[in-house]
Amino acid sequence: MSESQQPQRLPGECFPYEEKKKEISEVLGDPQLVEKMWKDIDGLGYMYIWFCLLAF
Protein backbone atom coordinates (compact mmCIF):
# COMPACT_ATOMS: atom_id res chain seq x y z
CA MET A 1 0.00 0.00 0.00
CA SER A 2 1.50 3.33 -0.99
CA GLU A 3 1.42 6.37 1.26
CA SER A 4 -1.03 8.15 -1.04
CA GLN A 5 -3.63 5.39 -1.12
CA GLN A 6 -6.48 5.73 1.34
CA PRO A 7 -7.56 2.41 2.79
CA GLN A 8 -10.76 2.09 4.76
CA ARG A 9 -9.31 2.45 8.24
CA LEU A 10 -11.69 1.36 10.95
CA PRO A 11 -11.44 2.66 14.53
CA GLY A 12 -8.54 0.85 16.19
CA GLU A 13 -6.46 0.28 13.07
CA CYS A 14 -3.82 2.13 11.06
CA PHE A 15 -2.78 -0.36 8.40
CA PRO A 16 -5.69 -2.79 7.89
CA TYR A 17 -4.77 -6.45 7.81
CA GLU A 18 -6.77 -6.88 4.62
CA GLU A 19 -4.23 -4.59 2.94
CA LYS A 20 -1.24 -6.30 4.53
CA LYS A 21 -2.52 -9.71 3.47
CA LYS A 22 -2.17 -8.72 -0.19
CA GLU A 23 1.59 -8.51 0.36
CA ILE A 24 1.80 -12.06 1.71
CA SER A 25 1.63 -14.69 -1.01
CA GLU A 26 0.79 -17.53 1.35
CA VAL A 27 0.65 -18.05 5.12
CA LEU A 28 2.29 -21.39 5.77
CA GLY A 29 1.27 -21.63 9.41
CA ASP A 30 -1.71 -20.37 11.41
CA PRO A 31 -3.29 -17.45 9.50
CA GLN A 32 -5.45 -16.40 12.45
CA LEU A 33 -2.38 -15.96 14.63
CA VAL A 34 -0.73 -13.80 11.95
CA GLU A 35 -3.85 -11.67 11.66
CA LYS A 36 -4.33 -11.29 15.40
CA MET A 37 -0.76 -10.24 16.10
CA TRP A 38 -0.77 -7.79 13.18
CA LYS A 39 -3.94 -6.18 14.48
CA ASP A 40 -2.75 -6.08 18.10
CA ILE A 41 0.46 -4.25 17.31
CA ASP A 42 -1.17 -2.09 14.65
CA GLY A 43 -3.62 -1.02 17.35
CA LEU A 44 -0.72 0.42 19.35
CA GLY A 45 0.07 2.71 16.44
CA TYR A 46 -3.56 3.80 16.45
CA MET A 47 -3.47 4.55 20.16
CA TYR A 48 -0.25 6.49 19.72
CA ILE A 49 -1.66 9.03 17.27
CA TRP A 50 -5.04 9.38 18.97
CA PHE A 51 -3.40 9.81 22.36
CA CYS A 52 -1.21 12.55 20.92
CA LEU A 53 -4.41 14.26 19.76
CA LEU A 54 -6.42 13.70 22.93
CA ALA A 55 -3.98 13.79 25.80
CA PHE A 56 -0.50 14.95 24.91
Binding site: E3, S4, Q6, P7, R9, P11, G12, E13, C14, G43, L44, G45, Y46, M47, Y48, I49, W50, F51, C52, L53, L54, A55, F56
Partner: protein
Amino acid sequence: MSEQMEKLYAERLKRYTTAMRNEKPDMIPIRPFVAEFVATYCGYTCQEVAHDCEKAFEATRRCASDFGWDATVGNMVFVWTALTQAIGLKYWAIPGIDLPADVGFQYREPSEEQSFMKPDEYDALIADPTGFLFNVWMPRVSTEVVEPGRPSTMRNNLSFVKGGMGMMQYFQGLSRQGELLRTECGCVSAIAGILKAPFDILADKLRGYVGLSQDLFDCPDKVLAACEALMPHLTQVALATSDPHKQVPVSLWMHRGCVPFISFEQFDRLFWPTLKPIIETLWSNGLQTLFYAEGKWGAHLKTFRELPAGSIIFHVDMDDIFEVHRVLGDRFCISGGIPNFLLAYRSPKEVRAYCKKVIDEVARDGGYIMDASAIVQNDAKVENIKAMTEFTREYGVY
Protein backbone atom coordinates in the same frame (compact mmCIF):
# COMPACT_ATOMS: atom_id res chain seq x y z
CA MET B 1 -0.60 -5.03 50.76
CA SER B 2 -1.32 -5.01 54.46
CA GLU B 3 -4.73 -6.18 55.60
CA GLN B 4 -5.36 -2.77 57.12
CA MET B 5 -4.56 -0.98 53.87
CA GLU B 6 -6.72 -3.39 51.88
CA LYS B 7 -9.63 -2.70 54.25
CA LEU B 8 -9.13 1.04 53.94
CA TYR B 9 -9.02 0.81 50.15
CA ALA B 10 -12.20 -1.28 50.05
CA GLU B 11 -14.02 1.22 52.29
CA ARG B 12 -12.95 4.14 50.15
CA LEU B 13 -13.81 2.41 46.88
CA LYS B 14 -17.27 1.62 48.21
CA ARG B 15 -17.72 5.20 49.42
CA TYR B 16 -16.64 6.63 46.07
CA THR B 17 -18.67 4.28 43.86
CA THR B 18 -21.77 4.62 46.04
CA ALA B 19 -21.69 8.40 45.70
CA MET B 20 -21.11 8.13 41.94
CA ARG B 21 -24.29 6.05 41.66
CA ASN B 22 -26.04 9.04 43.26
CA GLU B 23 -26.61 7.12 46.46
CA LYS B 24 -25.69 7.85 50.08
CA PRO B 25 -22.39 6.38 51.31
CA ASP B 26 -21.19 6.33 54.93
CA MET B 27 -19.58 9.74 54.46
CA ILE B 28 -18.84 12.19 51.65
CA PRO B 29 -15.97 10.93 49.51
CA ILE B 30 -13.07 13.32 48.97
CA ARG B 31 -11.53 13.15 45.49
CA PRO B 32 -9.44 16.23 44.68
CA PHE B 33 -8.02 16.58 41.21
CA VAL B 34 -4.65 17.89 42.31
CA ALA B 35 -2.19 18.94 39.64
CA GLU B 36 0.71 21.31 40.39
CA PHE B 37 -0.52 21.50 43.99
CA VAL B 38 1.40 18.28 44.61
CA ALA B 39 4.59 20.14 43.68
CA THR B 40 3.80 22.93 46.12
CA TYR B 41 3.13 20.44 48.88
CA CYS B 42 6.29 18.39 48.27
CA GLY B 43 8.67 21.28 47.59
CA TYR B 44 9.09 20.67 43.86
CA THR B 45 8.92 23.14 41.01
CA CYS B 46 6.34 22.88 38.25
CA GLN B 47 9.21 21.95 35.96
CA GLU B 48 10.12 18.98 38.15
CA VAL B 49 6.63 17.46 38.18
CA ALA B 50 5.95 18.20 34.51
CA HIS B 51 9.27 17.03 33.14
CA ASP B 52 9.93 14.10 35.49
CA CYS B 53 6.74 12.07 35.74
CA GLU B 54 8.17 9.84 38.47
CA LYS B 55 8.41 12.91 40.71
CA ALA B 56 4.78 13.73 39.90
CA PHE B 57 3.75 10.16 40.76
CA GLU B 58 5.68 10.23 44.02
CA ALA B 59 4.33 13.65 45.03
CA THR B 60 0.75 12.55 44.29
CA ARG B 61 1.17 9.48 46.49
CA ARG B 62 2.61 11.58 49.29
CA CYS B 63 -0.41 13.90 49.14
CA ALA B 64 -2.84 10.97 49.00
CA SER B 65 -1.23 9.48 52.10
CA ASP B 66 -0.86 12.66 54.10
CA PHE B 67 -4.36 14.02 53.38
CA GLY B 68 -6.08 10.64 53.43
CA TRP B 69 -8.19 11.22 50.33
CA ASP B 70 -10.60 8.55 49.14
CA ALA B 71 -9.61 8.90 45.50
CA THR B 72 -7.39 10.99 43.31
CA VAL B 73 -5.86 10.95 39.84
CA GLY B 74 -2.53 9.14 39.53
CA ASN B 75 -1.00 12.15 37.83
CA MET B 76 -3.06 15.24 37.15
CA VAL B 77 -0.01 17.03 35.71
CA PHE B 78 -1.15 15.05 32.72
CA VAL B 79 1.32 16.28 30.12
CA TRP B 80 4.70 14.63 30.64
CA THR B 81 6.63 17.37 28.93
CA ALA B 82 9.79 15.28 28.42
CA LEU B 83 7.69 13.04 26.18
CA THR B 84 6.09 15.90 24.27
CA GLN B 85 9.56 17.39 23.75
CA ALA B 86 10.82 14.05 22.39
CA ILE B 87 7.93 13.87 19.93
CA GLY B 88 8.50 17.54 19.09
CA LEU B 89 4.98 18.75 19.89
CA LYS B 90 4.94 22.51 19.38
CA TYR B 91 1.77 23.37 21.22
CA TRP B 92 2.95 22.91 24.81
CA ALA B 93 4.85 25.62 26.61
CA ILE B 94 7.11 23.67 28.94
CA PRO B 95 8.01 24.91 32.42
CA GLY B 96 11.75 25.42 32.71
CA ILE B 97 12.12 25.79 28.92
CA ASP B 98 9.41 28.06 27.54
CA LEU B 99 8.14 29.21 30.92
CA PRO B 100 9.67 29.95 34.31
CA ALA B 101 10.22 26.73 36.27
CA ASP B 102 7.43 27.57 38.69
CA VAL B 103 4.68 28.08 36.12
CA GLY B 104 2.53 25.14 35.06
CA PHE B 105 2.62 23.90 31.45
CA GLN B 106 0.39 25.83 29.04
CA TYR B 107 -1.36 25.05 25.77
CA ARG B 108 -0.41 27.42 22.95
CA GLU B 109 -3.14 27.63 20.35
CA PRO B 110 -1.69 28.72 17.01
CA SER B 111 -3.00 31.73 15.12
CA GLU B 112 -5.77 31.12 12.61
CA GLU B 113 -3.22 31.26 9.77
CA GLN B 114 -1.03 28.64 11.46
CA SER B 115 -3.88 26.31 12.41
CA PHE B 116 -3.04 22.61 12.32
CA MET B 117 -5.90 21.91 9.92
CA LYS B 118 -6.83 24.29 7.09
CA PRO B 119 -10.43 25.24 6.26
CA ASP B 120 -10.31 23.35 2.94
CA GLU B 121 -9.17 20.11 4.56
CA TYR B 122 -12.47 18.97 6.07
CA ASP B 123 -13.04 16.37 3.34
CA ALA B 124 -9.64 14.79 3.96
CA LEU B 125 -10.28 14.56 7.70
CA ILE B 126 -13.78 13.17 7.18
CA ALA B 127 -12.59 10.54 4.67
CA ASP B 128 -9.79 9.16 6.81
CA PRO B 129 -9.35 10.65 10.31
CA THR B 130 -6.47 8.39 11.36
CA GLY B 131 -4.63 8.88 8.07
CA PHE B 132 -5.13 12.64 8.34
CA LEU B 133 -3.61 12.66 11.81
CA PHE B 134 -0.52 10.73 10.72
CA ASN B 135 0.02 12.33 7.32
CA VAL B 136 -1.12 15.92 7.74
CA TRP B 137 -1.59 16.81 11.39
CA MET B 138 1.48 15.24 12.96
CA PRO B 139 3.99 16.88 10.56
CA ARG B 140 2.41 20.24 11.41
CA VAL B 141 2.32 19.86 15.18
CA SER B 142 5.81 18.35 15.50
CA THR B 143 9.14 20.06 14.98
CA GLU B 144 10.59 16.64 14.10
CA VAL B 145 8.11 14.86 11.83
CA VAL B 146 8.47 15.21 8.06
CA GLU B 147 5.39 15.23 5.84
CA PRO B 148 4.93 12.26 3.47
CA GLY B 149 6.65 12.73 0.12
CA ARG B 150 9.60 14.62 1.54
CA PRO B 151 12.92 12.94 2.35
CA SER B 152 12.79 11.32 5.75
CA THR B 153 15.27 12.29 8.41
CA MET B 154 16.77 10.69 11.47
CA ARG B 155 14.87 13.20 13.61
CA ASN B 156 11.62 12.11 11.99
CA ASN B 157 12.33 8.47 12.74
CA LEU B 158 13.45 9.24 16.28
CA SER B 159 10.24 11.14 17.00
CA PHE B 160 8.19 7.98 16.49
CA VAL B 161 10.65 5.61 18.15
CA LYS B 162 11.16 7.78 21.23
CA GLY B 163 7.54 8.87 21.28
CA GLY B 164 6.19 5.33 21.07
CA MET B 165 8.56 3.91 23.63
CA GLY B 166 8.18 6.92 25.91
CA MET B 167 4.40 6.73 25.78
CA MET B 168 4.54 3.04 26.65
CA GLN B 169 6.85 3.85 29.57
CA TYR B 170 4.47 6.56 30.78
CA PHE B 171 1.40 4.35 30.74
CA GLN B 172 3.25 1.51 32.42
CA GLY B 173 4.27 4.02 35.09
CA LEU B 174 0.68 5.21 35.44
CA SER B 175 -0.52 1.64 35.82
CA ARG B 176 2.13 1.03 38.51
CA GLN B 177 1.04 4.29 40.14
CA GLY B 178 -2.51 2.96 40.44
CA GLU B 179 -1.22 -0.10 42.24
CA LEU B 180 0.98 1.96 44.56
CA LEU B 181 -1.85 4.35 45.37
CA ARG B 182 -3.83 1.30 46.42
CA THR B 183 -1.15 -0.58 48.31
CA GLU B 184 0.76 2.32 49.90
CA CYS B 185 -2.03 4.86 50.40
CA GLY B 186 -5.31 2.92 50.30
CA CYS B 187 -6.42 5.47 47.72
CA VAL B 188 -8.55 4.79 44.63
CA SER B 189 -7.43 5.88 41.16
CA ALA B 190 -10.33 8.18 40.41
CA ILE B 191 -10.68 7.83 36.64
CA ALA B 192 -9.67 5.58 33.76
CA GLY B 193 -9.97 6.39 30.11
CA ILE B 194 -10.14 9.63 28.21
CA LEU B 195 -12.81 11.29 26.14
CA LYS B 196 -13.33 14.68 24.58
CA ALA B 197 -16.31 15.87 22.60
CA PRO B 198 -15.74 15.73 18.82
CA PHE B 199 -16.51 19.45 18.60
CA ASP B 200 -13.97 20.30 21.28
CA ILE B 201 -11.23 18.25 19.61
CA LEU B 202 -11.91 20.01 16.34
CA ALA B 203 -11.59 23.35 18.15
CA ASP B 204 -8.62 22.49 20.36
CA LYS B 205 -6.15 20.65 18.20
CA LEU B 206 -7.30 20.90 14.58
CA ARG B 207 -9.00 24.11 13.41
CA GLY B 208 -8.39 26.19 16.51
CA TYR B 209 -11.13 28.09 18.26
CA VAL B 210 -11.05 31.13 15.99
CA GLY B 211 -10.95 29.06 12.82
CA LEU B 212 -13.79 26.84 13.93
CA SER B 213 -15.89 29.85 14.89
CA GLN B 214 -15.64 31.05 11.29
CA ASP B 215 -16.35 27.55 9.92
CA LEU B 216 -19.58 27.42 11.90
CA PHE B 217 -20.86 30.10 9.53
CA ASP B 218 -18.98 29.21 6.34
CA CYS B 219 -19.40 25.42 6.30
CA PRO B 220 -21.54 24.14 9.19
CA ASP B 221 -22.38 20.91 7.36
CA LYS B 222 -18.68 20.08 7.05
CA VAL B 223 -18.19 20.78 10.74
CA LEU B 224 -21.03 18.38 11.54
CA ALA B 225 -19.63 15.72 9.19
CA ALA B 226 -16.18 16.09 10.76
CA CYS B 227 -17.63 15.66 14.26
CA GLU B 228 -19.51 12.59 13.06
CA ALA B 229 -16.32 11.18 11.53
CA LEU B 230 -14.48 11.64 14.84
CA MET B 231 -17.21 9.99 16.93
CA PRO B 232 -16.33 6.31 16.38
CA HIS B 233 -12.66 6.96 17.02
CA LEU B 234 -13.24 8.88 20.23
CA THR B 235 -15.59 6.12 21.36
CA GLN B 236 -12.96 3.50 20.52
CA VAL B 237 -10.25 5.27 22.54
CA ALA B 238 -12.57 5.84 25.50
CA LEU B 239 -13.60 2.18 25.60
CA ALA B 240 -10.08 0.87 25.07
CA THR B 241 -8.69 2.94 27.94
CA SER B 242 -11.57 2.52 30.39
CA ASP B 243 -11.56 0.63 33.68
CA PRO B 244 -11.90 -3.10 32.90
CA HIS B 245 -13.65 -3.54 36.27
CA LYS B 246 -16.09 -0.75 35.34
CA GLN B 247 -15.79 0.85 38.76
CA VAL B 248 -14.37 4.28 37.96
CA PRO B 249 -15.59 6.59 35.20
CA VAL B 250 -14.18 7.64 31.88
CA SER B 251 -13.15 11.30 32.11
CA LEU B 252 -14.69 13.75 29.66
CA TRP B 253 -12.87 17.08 29.57
CA MET B 254 -15.45 19.60 28.40
CA HIS B 255 -14.00 22.74 26.90
CA ARG B 256 -15.77 25.33 24.78
CA GLY B 257 -18.80 23.70 23.23
CA CYS B 258 -21.30 25.67 25.27
CA VAL B 259 -23.23 28.93 25.20
CA PRO B 260 -21.94 31.66 24.94
CA PHE B 261 -18.95 30.31 22.98
CA ILE B 262 -21.46 28.85 20.52
CA SER B 263 -25.18 29.47 20.06
CA PHE B 264 -27.99 27.25 21.31
CA GLU B 265 -28.69 26.26 17.70
CA GLN B 266 -25.06 25.21 17.20
CA PHE B 267 -25.06 23.31 20.46
CA ASP B 268 -28.26 21.48 19.53
CA ARG B 269 -27.16 20.74 15.96
CA LEU B 270 -23.43 20.09 16.33
CA PHE B 271 -22.11 19.63 19.83
CA TRP B 272 -24.73 17.57 21.58
CA PRO B 273 -25.79 15.08 18.85
CA THR B 274 -22.15 14.11 18.35
CA LEU B 275 -21.40 13.69 22.07
CA LYS B 276 -24.57 12.19 23.51
CA PRO B 277 -24.35 8.89 21.57
CA ILE B 278 -20.81 8.35 22.85
CA ILE B 279 -21.94 8.74 26.46
CA GLU B 280 -24.84 6.37 25.76
CA THR B 281 -22.48 3.82 24.23
CA LEU B 282 -20.20 3.96 27.26
CA TRP B 283 -23.19 3.57 29.54
CA SER B 284 -24.43 0.57 27.56
CA ASN B 285 -20.98 -0.91 28.20
CA GLY B 286 -21.41 -0.40 31.94
CA LEU B 287 -19.28 2.73 32.14
CA GLN B 288 -20.04 6.06 33.75
CA THR B 289 -18.64 9.29 32.35
CA LEU B 290 -17.22 12.03 34.51
CA PHE B 291 -18.46 15.27 32.92
CA TYR B 292 -15.60 17.57 33.88
CA ALA B 293 -17.58 20.66 32.93
CA GLU B 294 -14.84 23.26 32.68
CA GLY B 295 -16.22 26.79 32.67
CA LYS B 296 -19.98 27.33 32.72
CA TRP B 297 -22.44 24.83 31.27
CA GLY B 298 -25.50 26.13 33.08
CA ALA B 299 -27.30 26.93 29.82
CA HIS B 300 -27.45 23.23 28.98
CA LEU B 301 -28.31 21.54 32.25
CA LYS B 302 -31.80 20.56 31.10
CA THR B 303 -30.32 19.00 27.97
CA PHE B 304 -28.02 16.84 30.10
CA ARG B 305 -31.13 15.40 31.76
CA GLU B 306 -31.69 13.51 28.50
CA LEU B 307 -28.90 11.13 29.50
CA PRO B 308 -29.78 7.94 31.38
CA ALA B 309 -29.96 8.45 35.14
CA GLY B 310 -26.65 7.56 36.73
CA SER B 311 -24.71 7.57 33.47
CA ILE B 312 -22.64 10.65 34.36
CA ILE B 313 -21.07 12.40 37.30
CA PHE B 314 -21.44 16.12 36.75
CA HIS B 315 -18.39 18.04 37.93
CA VAL B 316 -19.04 21.71 38.71
CA ASP B 317 -16.41 24.28 37.80
CA MET B 318 -17.76 27.84 37.39
CA ASP B 319 -21.44 26.95 37.45
CA ASP B 320 -23.73 27.67 40.38
CA ILE B 321 -23.52 24.33 42.19
CA PHE B 322 -26.81 24.88 43.96
CA GLU B 323 -28.61 25.40 40.66
CA VAL B 324 -26.83 22.36 39.18
CA HIS B 325 -28.05 20.30 42.13
CA ARG B 326 -31.59 21.61 41.74
CA VAL B 327 -31.71 20.67 38.04
CA LEU B 328 -29.60 17.50 37.93
CA GLY B 329 -29.39 16.22 41.50
CA ASP B 330 -32.20 13.68 41.15
CA ARG B 331 -30.46 11.99 38.20
CA PHE B 332 -26.71 12.35 38.64
CA CYS B 333 -23.99 12.55 41.25
CA ILE B 334 -22.36 15.98 41.49
CA SER B 335 -18.74 16.73 42.32
CA GLY B 336 -16.58 19.77 42.92
CA GLY B 337 -17.83 23.31 43.19
CA ILE B 338 -15.40 24.60 45.84
CA PRO B 339 -14.06 27.71 44.07
CA ASN B 340 -10.34 27.70 43.32
CA PHE B 341 -10.03 31.38 44.19
CA LEU B 342 -11.18 30.49 47.68
CA LEU B 343 -8.49 27.81 47.93
CA ALA B 344 -5.85 30.21 46.61
CA TYR B 345 -6.64 33.55 48.23
CA ARG B 346 -8.96 33.15 51.19
CA SER B 347 -8.61 31.78 54.71
CA PRO B 348 -9.20 28.24 55.98
CA LYS B 349 -12.18 29.59 57.89
CA GLU B 350 -13.80 30.81 54.69
CA VAL B 351 -13.05 27.49 52.99
CA ARG B 352 -14.73 25.57 55.80
CA ALA B 353 -17.76 27.88 55.68
CA TYR B 354 -18.22 27.34 51.95
CA CYS B 355 -17.74 23.58 52.27
CA LYS B 356 -20.46 23.59 54.96
CA LYS B 357 -22.85 25.42 52.64
CA VAL B 358 -22.20 22.92 49.83
CA ILE B 359 -22.55 19.92 52.12
CA ASP B 360 -25.75 21.29 53.66
CA GLU B 361 -27.44 22.11 50.39
CA VAL B 362 -25.99 19.69 47.83
CA ALA B 363 -24.76 16.64 49.71
CA ARG B 364 -27.50 16.08 52.26
CA ASP B 365 -28.97 13.06 50.42
CA GLY B 366 -25.68 11.62 49.14
CA GLY B 367 -24.60 11.77 45.52
CA TYR B 368 -21.88 14.35 46.10
CA ILE B 369 -18.07 14.13 45.91
CA MET B 370 -15.95 16.82 47.53
CA ASP B 371 -13.47 18.52 45.21
CA ALA B 372 -12.32 21.91 44.07
CA SER B 373 -14.00 23.48 41.06
CA ALA B 374 -11.08 23.16 38.67
CA ILE B 375 -7.90 21.14 38.90
CA VAL B 376 -5.82 22.37 41.82
CA GLN B 377 -2.65 24.09 40.72
CA ASN B 378 0.25 25.64 42.54
CA ASP B 379 -1.67 28.71 43.65
CA ALA B 380 -3.73 26.78 46.20
CA LYS B 381 -2.67 27.16 49.82
CA VAL B 382 -1.80 23.96 51.62
CA GLU B 383 -3.78 25.05 54.69
CA ASN B 384 -6.88 25.55 52.55
CA ILE B 385 -6.69 22.09 50.97
CA LYS B 386 -6.20 20.78 54.49
CA ALA B 387 -9.26 22.74 55.66
CA MET B 388 -11.40 21.37 52.81
CA THR B 389 -10.29 17.83 53.58
CA GLU B 390 -10.55 17.95 57.37
CA PHE B 391 -13.87 19.77 57.45
CA THR B 392 -15.42 17.27 55.03
CA ARG B 393 -14.19 14.39 57.16
CA GLU B 394 -15.60 15.95 60.32
CA TYR B 395 -18.89 17.32 59.02
CA GLY B 396 -19.59 15.12 56.01
CA VAL B 397 -20.62 11.98 57.87
CA TYR B 398 -24.11 10.62 57.15
